[in-house]
């Protein structure tokens, strides 16, 4: 389907505008082609996810996860996390709300890992830049990391490292669930798409712009000497760089796609994107209010280890 679109852009740039094929026009071609493709696919993914979201409220999620056995609970939590929006400022109320309702600590953590990592912006951008296969790998591995983290935390029995006030907090009834008609759900999803696009469009355009220039001017494979197969530390370095780039999947993924063309391996790129979404400094600071340092460090160490392992695994598989 995108082949037709590429032909149209070819026609537009090289025939209609009568431009010669060179680095600059190649960058322009890339920019037009990618912008339209990314915005269409991203809008589509956000629409689908936010439409489904109207069926799964946080209150419902908490009910489903409460009192389940740990293993089943962590699997469910990693799935439900995909459909729940996550803003790091909600991390504390969510954490207290879950723990108070009897959701086991491990299950709560699976949710806290999956929710920011597998979000609609990252998924939409992965689909439009890397394609469906890499998007699928990202989702499955994100879920695996969430499930494993939750089970490890449950196994280590770290409940005593949760700040005491969490268990003493009284939690009220919450939002009274309203009746949704299909047309309300569609309206919610459309509003959500517009809301997100309004918030991220300039990051995406800048990222595609940078990607476009790299596409036109930087020869394929130029980076492989430093961060390709030869460098065994490429994955952990990518994860370290990803931590401070929190919440900006929109501005990061289109550039990362170009980096893979220049020689960064797929596993390294995947690990980097996971670190951007799942490991964030602000969240670390916020969670410090409810978790004692030991649990906090354990939590981050498990996720970071998981991401690095996924990175190495894919560098081996995708050779």
């Amino acid at each position: 389907m995108w082949k037709y679109w590429e032909n149209i852009v070819d026609y537009l740039v090289y025939s209609l505008l009568k431009l010669e094929k060179n680095a600059l026009t190649s960058a322009l071609h890339f920019f037009i082609y990618d912008t339209v493709k990314i915005f269409i696919l991203l809008s589509l993914i956000i629409f689908v996810v936010s439409f489904l979201r109207t069926y799964i409220s946080t209150e419902k999620t908490r009910r489903i996860l409460g009192g389940k056995n740990i293993f089943l609970g962590t699997i469910l939590a990693s799935i439900l996390g995909i459909f729940t929006p996550f803003c790091s400022c909600s991390a504390i109320p969510l954490f207290i709300g879950f723990v108070e309702a009897g959701v086991p600590l491990g299950v709560t953590f699976s949710f806290l890992v999956a929710s920011p990592m597998i979000n609609e912006i990252a998924v939409g951008l992965l689909l439009s830049t890397f394609g469906i296969k890499i998007m699928f790998f990202y989702i499955v591995n994100g879920m695996l990391i969430a499930i494993i983290s939750g089970n490890v935390i449950a196994y280590l029995k770290l409940e005593k490292y949760v700040e005491d006030f969490v268990f003493k907090t009284k939690v009220g009834a919450g939002l009274i669930e309203q009746k949704w008609l299909i047309k309300d759900r569609i309206k919610f999803a459309v509003d959500y798409v517009l809301d997100i696009i309004k918030k991220v469009w300039y990051y995406i355009l800048i990222a595609i712009g940078i990607g476009g220039f790299m596409h036109g001017y930087a020869p394929a494979g130029i980076l492989s000497k430093w961060v390709g197969e030869g460098n065994i530390f490429a994955v952990p370095i990518a994860v370290l760089i990803g931590v401070p780039l929190y919440a900006n999947a929109a501005g990061v993924i289109p550039i990362v796609k170009e980096l893979t063309r220049l020689g960064v391996q797929t596993g390294t790129a995947l690990a980097f994107m996971m670190a951007v979404t799942a490991l964030s400094l602000p969240e670390f600071i916020i969670l410090k209010k409810v978790l004692k340092l030991r649990l906090l460090i354990t939590y981050f160490a498990i996720i970071a280890t998981g991401i690095i392992l996924v990175g190495y695994l894919f560098n081996i598989i995708m050779k």
């Binding site: 946080t58 209150e59 908490r62 929006p85 803003c87 790091s88 400022c89 909600s90 504390i92 109320p93 969510l94 207290i96 709300g97 879950f98 108070e100 006030f165 907090t169 009284k170 939690v171 009220g172 009834a173 919450g174 939002l175 009274i176 916020i286 209010k289």
Partner: protein, 76 residues
């Protein structure tokens, strides 16, 4: 009427607070607006997604920055 905006102080919470002030100004309703940042008070309403809007002690919305028009509909 008493309106409370629950949130730990991120940009979204401030945006909701501003939208509420605008909606109140436009509808000319006399009411008391309060910003609640204390976590145990937020939890006492059972809200897990911030920002949340509470009118007369009832949670009306959670996890959303409502538009001025949406808030106006809730006020009348």
């Amino acid at each position: 009427m008493k309106i409370e905006i629950l949130g730990t102080g991120c940009t979204k919470c401030k945006n909701l607070f501003n939208a509420v002030q605008e909606a109140v100004k436009q509808t000319n309703i006399s009411c008391e607006i309060e910003k609640v940042e204390d976590i145990s008070k937020i939890m006492s309403y059972g809200v897990m997604m911030t920002p949340a809007l509470v009118i007369n002690g009832e949670v009306k919305s959670a996890g959303k920055v409502l538009s001025v028009d949406d808030i106006k509909k809730m006020l009348v």
